[in-house]
């Protein structure tokens, strides 16, 4: 058992920090000699279901999308002509839920599963496991704004909703409720100087110590599979303990956080009603901006929605609540063929689909703009420390997992090049992640099917 007296002594010595205005705090964060970055790198990987339109030419983007990116002209690179790792595993229109969930899974790990639930560790979690990327309140954060609400024959529900995995049987729970994200990242945000509240937090740490002790006692009594599972919980409790310590240590003093989002979500539902989807997305991006600004997390995976449906208006099939859009996102992605209840007007369907995609582009661009607007005393923006990747795990229409494009915003702490258009020449998305990991100082050599890397993205 951790010595309680030691802990009490440590806690007693912990100083009280006051909230600083944003500007100074960012200066504090980055104020190294010569204005060099302090080395903190941030990563946000954003993806959407149902595919992006794939134009005929391998180096083109769908009409209108470049224009959507115009506000960030010069601040992004586009990698085109990418394959999804799923293709190497025959996951094109074969098997359960594919290509939708087949392309979702393996996207971040470069490996396809050997049986449902056996996802390998995804590259974001590999980064999260490196001490150099730790120190934030939450070591990583996974978001899925619109989960699939049901299981399917032979497939557990998490298969459709979980993008980040720590390893086989160890999904990283994806959040769909902005209130829960707020609580996770910002509870105790204000540095706690009320003695009674501090006493409660100190008490909380003692309880967490007791939980950790009990987990350690329990471990040897379990079989190896259960040990792995309990270990995942151990990691979660340890992180909660660190978070509690950080609150006592001065909270997230760097910035000022707003109110907890007020969104009317049914506590037992895993997806917002369609009409609330835009509000949920806005709230999530607002929280993410704050989270990066406050160093509440550094590694984020963000799926706009599940890669599978589970019903004609749930999961990827939902109607995203945009004015004038009456069909589901997924049916509209098949604008060119008679599909479900789609209108016979294929041009209208196509325009609606492109509107949905365009709306999501606007949201991502708005997010990176907000990161870019947060500037420290040396003129460095939060986006300079951050790499934001955005794309779909598949194509639209026939959902071909080839000729994909991925947009990289920001320099990730000066590691990544901006303003490039790169032809991946059918290399795999996993190759992109190999080089992203290199840029984060964690060269993995290879990542599943990613064998060559894509170092053109690096400076």
């Amino acid at each position: 058992m951790i010595n309680e007296l030691q802990r009490r002594r440590f806690l007693k010595g912990a100083g009280v920090c006051l909230a600083l205005p944003l500007f100074e705090s960012l200066a504090g964060r980055n104020a190294q000699a010569g204005g060099e970055p302090d080395g903190t790198q941030r990563l946000v990987v954003i993806g959407h279901p149902n595919g992006t339109p794939q134009p005929a030419g391998e180096m083109e983007m769908a009409p209108g999308l470049r224009e959507r990116l115009a506000p960030m002209e010069g601040r992004y690179s586009v990698v085109q002509n990418l394959d999804n790792s799923a293709i190497k595993y025959g996951q094109i229109n074969t098997g359960v839920g594919t290509p939708h969930s087949g392309c979702f899974h393996g996207f971040l790990s470069g490996e396809m599963h050997e049986g449902i639930g056996n996802e390998r560790m995804t590259f974001d979690q590999r980064l999260a496991a490196d001490p150099r990327h730790q120190g934030a309140r939450a070591s990583s954060l996974s978001i899925n704004c619109n989960k699939r609400p049901s299981a399917q024959l032979g497939v557990p529900q998490q298969w459709f909703n979980t993008w980040a995995w720590q390893g086989p049987g160890q999904p990283v729970g994806a959040h769909h409720d902005p209130r829960a994200v707020f609580d996770l990242l910002f509870a105790g945000f204000e540095p706690e100087d009320d003695p009674a509240a501090r006493a409660l937090l100190e008490q909380k740490r003692l309880y967490l110590d007791a939980v950790l002790d009990q987990i350690h006692d329990l471990q040897p009594k379990l079989n190896s599979t259960d040990q792995v599972r309990l270990d995942q919980y151990l990691t979660g409790v340890e992180e909660l303990d660190r978070k509690t310590a950080s609150i006592l240590d001065g909270g997230l003093a760097q910035c000022t956080v707003g109110e907890r989002p007020e969104i009317e979500l049914n506590p037992d539902a895993v997806a917002p009603p369609a009409s609330l989807y835009p509000e949920v997305v806005d709230a999530m991006f607002g929280l993410l901006t704050l989270a990066l600004q406050c160093d509440a997390t550094r590694l984020v995976t963000f799926a706009f929605a599940s890669p599978a449906g589970g019903g004609s208006v749930t999961g990827m099939n939902f109607v995203p609540g945009l004015e004038g859009i009456e069909s589901g996102w997924h049916p509209l992605s098949h604008w060119s063929a008679p599909y479900g209840n789609l209108s016979n007007d294929t041009e209208l369907n196509r325009r609606d689909f492109e509107r949905i995609i365009g709306w999501h582009y606007d949201k991502v661009v708005g997010f990176v703009q907000s990161l870019d607007s947060l500037v420290d005393a040396q003129g460095r923006s939060l986006l300079d420390d951050t790499l934001v990747s955005f794309g779909s795990w598949m194509g639209s229409a026939v959902h071909d997992p080839r000729k994909l494009y991925n947009i990289l915003f920001g320099t990730g702490g000066g590691a990544f090049a901006e303003g490039l258009t790169i032809n991946a020449n059918e290399r795999n998305i996993a190759d992109l992640w190999v080089s992203v990991m290199k840029g984060f100082g964690n060269d993995p050599g290879t990542l599943g099917i990613g064998q060559t890397g894509m170092d053109e993205i690096l400076i």
Binding site: T98, R179, Q214, D226
Partner: protein, 551 residues
């Protein structure tokens, strides 16, 4: 196969309320609510200890146990029962994803991350602040005390308290850990918070697990008690079960069957009947339909009907096939109108009614017809696949190359979906799989997407509901199909398989079919026309439940 009510004796046609069941529970067991903290003396009968039969099954085929946390239902019920909370506080708990069988109690589908850890901690604090602990050991009798007296009082009840909360024997170290928090308390209120917070954040409370074999073989009775309580009550064992586990009597010959009977008579078993039927038959899908909002009341009534029907047939131990072929149902005015049958007038009035000739059992109930249908039309392929998966457990594999759309009809002549399907089935690769599901769906074409009976499509074409079951039995329509299915063994096996999977908290592997057969054989030996209570009794003493539960 008789009338649902005819086989049920003197049932009055009103759903048993909790008060009635309370009385029954009091008569069958004087110990169900005995939480006074004094471990009753052992009552071991000295009979042969339980040694579940293995038959021809391969014990190595039994899958490993898997650690799992309490799911939300279990957490709310367990905490509510432990502390006597009038209402569970409105606090977030970790999400429960569903497993391949649609169940929410599978450890491999339940998250264990930082957010879960934090939610459990916050929940413990919230429960502490909502606590109404009078009467709950080891706290209630200590309320008037302070100082050393308070500490001694809590310590004296700590062992019993933690054994109840952790559902297993408790060592001195656990008691000492809890007391280290109690000792820091300044008054009763703080001591109470310490007990609640320590207990509810402990992994020994939060997790079901099975210690490795060499750790504590003597604890197997506790494991069975825990499994049984979460099966039938979605909550922890009461003191009567724990007493029987502690002295080993629980595993005496015949004792588990007695406990199953006692627990079914307890009102807490309502949770099993509601939750299992809801999850097995995926009644929640109704809430995800595009018209769920417009039809909210109707869909809720349908769910009530199906749950009540399941509960009645199960509680009364009617032959399992009654679920398919029973010809009475439980409706209110709105449902009676919807079905076009005589019944109660008001929407708040519910009654058991005899069904007209075109309706029999689960498959013709609104909830099943809506849940299994497509969102836009009856979609007989989808319905057939639903029946194949949930009712006979013979789901066809998903086709290579994905599921193609049905070809559009050629020419201007209207065609039925049966005709379209027949074209599709000219491809032998498609035919073999469709023969496993289409017959069910086509037979149910006499019921539209919302379960209304019809004999023709909107385009005027007549509906032909006849067909051949995968086993070869021919039928004319849904009713004769249901009769044929009720006479076969597939449904009994399938229902038992779902129940077994639910009881052990994981989907069963193909190799584990044999263990399900053992349960069924034992149920048949017990009662030729066995019902769900027979299955529960034999399940509780079966090899897979006693040895292979997910704990």
């Amino acid at each position: 196969m008789g009338l649902l009510l005819a086989t049920s004796g003197c049932y009055t046609g009103v759903r048993a309320d909790a008060g009635e069941l309370d009385t029954d529970a009091g008569q069958t067991s004087g110990a169900s609510a005995d939480d006074d903290g004094d471990p009753p003396s052992g009552e071991s009968t000295g009979a042969e200890p339980l040694d579940p039969e293995l038959g021809d099954c391969d014990p190595d085929a039994l899958a490993n146990s898997t650690l799992r946390r309490l799911n939300r239902r279990e957490y709310r019920n367990t905490v509510g029962d432990l502390f006597g909370l009038a209402a569970f506080p409105d606090i977030a708990l970790p999400w429960d994803d569903l497993n391949t069988r649609g169940f929410d109690n599978d450890g491999s589908s339940l998250s264990l991350d930082t957010a879960s850890a934090e939610q459990y901690f916050d929940a413990a604090v919230a429960v502490a602040s909502n606590f109404e602990g009078a009467g709950t050991p080891p706290l209630g009798e200590c309320a008037a005390l302070s100082g050393d007296g308070l500490e001694d009082c809590i310590e004296s009840g700590a062992q019993v308290w933690l054994e109840r909360a952790f559902r297993r024997p408790v060592d001195d170290q656990s008691v000492e850990r809890m007391m280290s928090f109690v000792r820091g308390a300044q008054n009763y209120s703080e001591a109470r918070d310490a007990v609640v917070t320590f207990t509810l954040t402990s992994p020994l409370f939060l997790f079901h697990y099975k210690p490795s074999a060499d750790d504590a073989p003597a604890d197997s009775a506790y494991l069975v008690a825990d499994r049984l309580a979460y099966l039938l009550w979605s909550s922890g064992p009461d003191s009567a079960l724990l007493d029987a586990a502690r002295d080993g009597a629980l595993l005496d010959d015949g004792r588990l069957e007695d406990e199953v009977e006692r627990m079914i008579e307890d009102p807490r078993s309502d949770r099993f009947f509601d939750d299992f039927a809801h999850l097995w038959l995926r009644l929640g899908i109704l809430n995800l339909k595009p018209d769920a909002e417009i039809n909210a009341e109707l869909f809720a009534d349908m769910q009530t009907e199906t749950r009540a029907f399941f509960e009645f047939a199960a509680r009364e131990n009617l032959p399992l096939s009654t679920l398919l072929a029973g010809n009475e149902s439980y409706v209110n005015g709105r449902l009676a109108d919807h079905y076009g049958i005589d019944g109660p007038l008001g929407d708040d009035e519910w009654a058991w009614v005899e069904l007209p000739p075109e309706r029999r059992g689960l498959l013709t109930q609104g909830a099943i017809l809506v849940a299994s249908a497509g969102d836009a039309f009856s979609d007989p392929i989808r319905r057939g696949a639903w029946v194949a998966e949930h009712i006979v457990c013979q789901e066809p594999p998903l086709p290579e190359g994905g599921i193609p759309d049905l070809p559009a009809p050629e020419g201007d002549e209207p065609v039925t979906i049966r005709e379209l399907l027949e074209e599709h089935r000219e491809n032998p690769a498609c035919a073999s799989c469709h023969a496993l599901m289409d017959p069910y769906g086509l037979a149910l074409e006499n019921y539209d997407r919302l379960g209304l009976h019809r004999t023709a499509y909107d385009n005027g074409l007549a509906i032909d509901p006849s067909g051949v079951l995968p086993g070869g039995a021919e039928f004319d329509d849904a009713i004769s199909m249901v009769d044929a299915m009720a006479q076969g063994a597939n449904f009994e096996h399938c229902a038992t398989e779902f129940l077994t999977a639910y009881s052990v908290g994981r989907a069963l592997g193909d190799d584990e079919e044999c263990f399900v057969e053992l349960v069924l054989d034992a149920a048949r030996d017990r009662n030729e026309a066995f019902g769900l209570r027979d299955v529960l009794a034999t399940l509780a003493t079966s090899y897979i439940f006693v040895n292979g539960g997910q704990q």
